[in-house]
Symmetry: C2
Subunit: 425 residues, 2 copies
């Protein structure tokens, strides 16, 4: 038994926060929550009464290794950004770059209280190995473009090797997007996903042009496409972006196995539009939150993403009651974890995995925070700088500025070198 002592506990199932000790068993599960300063056992962390314990944050759509491409191309339209800056550099990436860039991303996410993420890229064995080593939780897939059996086979090999590893890795299939994968290949991937009980991670209607293509070229409604290809029937479907998913087709994606991932900052930065989050939530669709890759954000900071989500829709709809702090915290925790297929992840309760972000609430920005308003303080006044510790399955990955499972200086030094290589070549 180990103890997170004297913290203010909040998750999406609670109205008010609760002062208590979190007891974690040897399987890394929360075994009970006791009154503050009452639990016996090894003290993993002492919150001293001025630390919030919330579920570890979940980044439900990213491309971690793109940290190596951060800032390479700024303030450009999407297609010029991709074609003149991103694609040429991506063509030069080698497995070692994917590994180091991924590790750099894990450093950034872990220091911000992120415990779990969903990733799509290539050379994904490297990302999986980095994730296993760092002790994080992730749903990973090999991005598949075209009708490319080599890429599909790499994705399946990734599943064979890593799916279920340490209870922390889920492998999904990663068809990239409707406009990069032919329909029959999508159907094949969806069918394999159902057979092998794998989830699917898919880019979905990020830009208005994609919606127009459905109308003018495919001549099919987006939801009919999702259903017709078999995607709606895969065990877990993670649809990233969904900026242009038709509002009158939200009923079709309101399913236990389907999660829409909102990427607020990337959508703003690339000028993609405003996802209809208001309507998604009204319909009861499961909505999660993601940063997208660091090349189009440029932070892997779920705090930033929560605050931006909570503010941008209020502003856009001129309605300050929209998208509450509590709704975005749910999106950034349990909604994302369950959307990827992780069970008992994203709440702080008995029998659930002890994935936690411990947040300093003793700083200037938290004066006035109490058990009734903690989530609002976290989202509107808090930030990743307040994270004191990040814990996955009861194991501390980060505490008071130090990484316990990763060599920060070595990773920064290696990525600095790799960045020079890929930009120069």
């Amino acid at each position: 038994m180990s103890i997170i002592r004297d913290v203010l506990i909040w998750d999406s199932e609670r109205q008010n926060a609760e002062a208590g000790d979190i007891v974690i068993n040897d399987s890394g599960l929360v075994s009970e929550i006791l009154p503050p300063k009452s639990a016996k056992g090894e003290r993993l962390f002492d919150g001293g009464g001025y630390t919030a314990a919330i579920p570890g944050l979940v980044n439900s759509h990213t491309h971690v290794s793109m940290t190596l491409l951060r800032g390479l191309a700024e303030e450009l339209p999407l297609m010029r950004w991709l074609q003149t800056k991103i694609f040429p550099v991506e063509n030069r990436l080698l497995p070692q770059h994917i590994r180091s860039g991924g590790e750099l991303a894990l450093l950034e996410m872990i220091s911000g209280g992120v415990t779990c993420f969903a990733d799509m890229y290539y050379f994904m064995r490297e990302v999986a190995a980095a994730t296993v080593g760092a002790g994080m939780r992730a749903a990973l897939c090999r991005g598949i473009t075209g009708d490319d059996s080599k890429k599909l086979n790499e994705n399946l090999a990734l599943a064979d090797e890593f799916n279920g590893r340490d209870g922390r890795i889920i492998v999904q299939l990663g068809p990239h997007a409707p406009y990069t994968v032919p329909r029959d290949a999508i159907e094949k991937i969806a069918s394999i996903a159902r057979d092998k009980k794998l989830g699917v991670h898919f880019h979905w209607l990020e830009t208005e042009g994609e919606l127009e293509t459905f109308r003018d070229e495919y001549k099919i409604s987006p939801s009919d496409y999702l259903e017709g290809t078999g995607l709606l029937a895969v065990p877990k479907l993670l649809l990233a972006h969904c900026v242009w998913h038709p509002v009158d087709e939200l009923d079709r994606v309101k399913r236990d196995n389907v999660t829409l991932v909102h990427n607020p900052k990337s959508n703003l930065k690339l000028g993609s539009g405003y996802a209809p989050i208001k309507q998604m939530l009204e319909k009861g669709v499961n909505v999660a939150l993601g940063t997208d890759g660091a090349a189009s954000n440029n932070r892997l900071d779920v705090w930033d993403e929560m605050r931006t989500a909570a503010l941008m829709h209020k502003g856009y709809h001129k309605d300050p009651t929209l998208l509450s702090a509590r709704q975005v915290l749910k999106m950034a925790t349990v909604a994302g974890a369950s959307g990827m297929g992780f069970e008992r992840v994203g709440l702080i309760k008995k029998g659930w995995h002890a994935d936690l972000a411990l947040v300093n609430i003793a700083g200037p920005a938290y004066v006035g925070a109490d058990v009734t308003n903690l989530p609002e303080f976290l989202v509107y006044a808090g930030s990743s700088r307040d994270v004191r510790a990040t814990i996955v399955g009861g194991k501390i990955l980060y505490k008071d500025g130090r990484y316990l499972t990763m060599d920060r200086d070595e990773i920064i030094s290696k990525t600095t070198e790799h960045r020079k290589q890929i930009v120069k070549t």
Copy 2:
């Protein structure tokens, strides 16, 4: 002479950042910039080559003491927010609350590299004294509502006592807004401002309703009002918000003495709308950046404000080329300082005040940053957590988490107590 050694220097007049030592004379002015590691003198700070030196950030519209009201009312429409939550508590605020709340705000701003701010509230002697004590720079005014000679006299007494103090305090006159001050009182205030050579800080067209009032009730164009009241002729005019300033009247406020202050997060949070920043910048109007008060933001974090500004307009206009990182950094430094009437503040150059934010660029988010792309990394990837030191007039206020001019723990303890008082009463 004291030295900021081995830093990467950037300000709005530079295309590329420059490695160097900043030499500061005994008057707190930059006396020269020398090659890195070459300057002789007392070492104020050693950047070790992995620290950026940028002008201290400028928060051009806030109400610092509202930190005591942070989180008191969330997710409410503006008028309900004001009338049911904010006003009743504000009525209970005493000078000691204004002082402690102000000090709490200074803690937060200083730790985020903010060196200068413009504030409007009441019991402003307390804010002035806190600012003098903390060593920050500020333009302060007593908010005047109604045709209230008591408030005006308090504002003038503030000017008598504090204007020009230590070269760091400017006192302005603070008519609150067109809808809270009768026109003849505005005219009187503007006339006094011109006589006494004082600037004016004014809330301007924050909500659409205010614009409608100009059209339907005052039956005058906003710009004719600014001109007719004499406001356009005061030495410095700071217009906060400007969300609904008519785009076809931007020429009228394009004047050396007029600055429009953009408050991106407050405008989003309260659902006020999108200020026409794109058009303001196209017209060449001077635009600054502000957080507004902590009750409607809820952070006094200019980094957050810069990033939100840079992202929200790209998203709203679906144009990723809009509002560049360099434009928002200018808004958040020299444009704000000059808008308040501070001379030689906001750039790092010979003869200018040594007001600096020193930023750690050795962390994971800065891999890839170099002399060519530093501003973009700062705005899109950086955050207030990277601030290592904050310097005003050559004096260090904050370094590596410690405050050199303020007692952090005492202020937090006092404000925690005060918060309870004002909420309970």
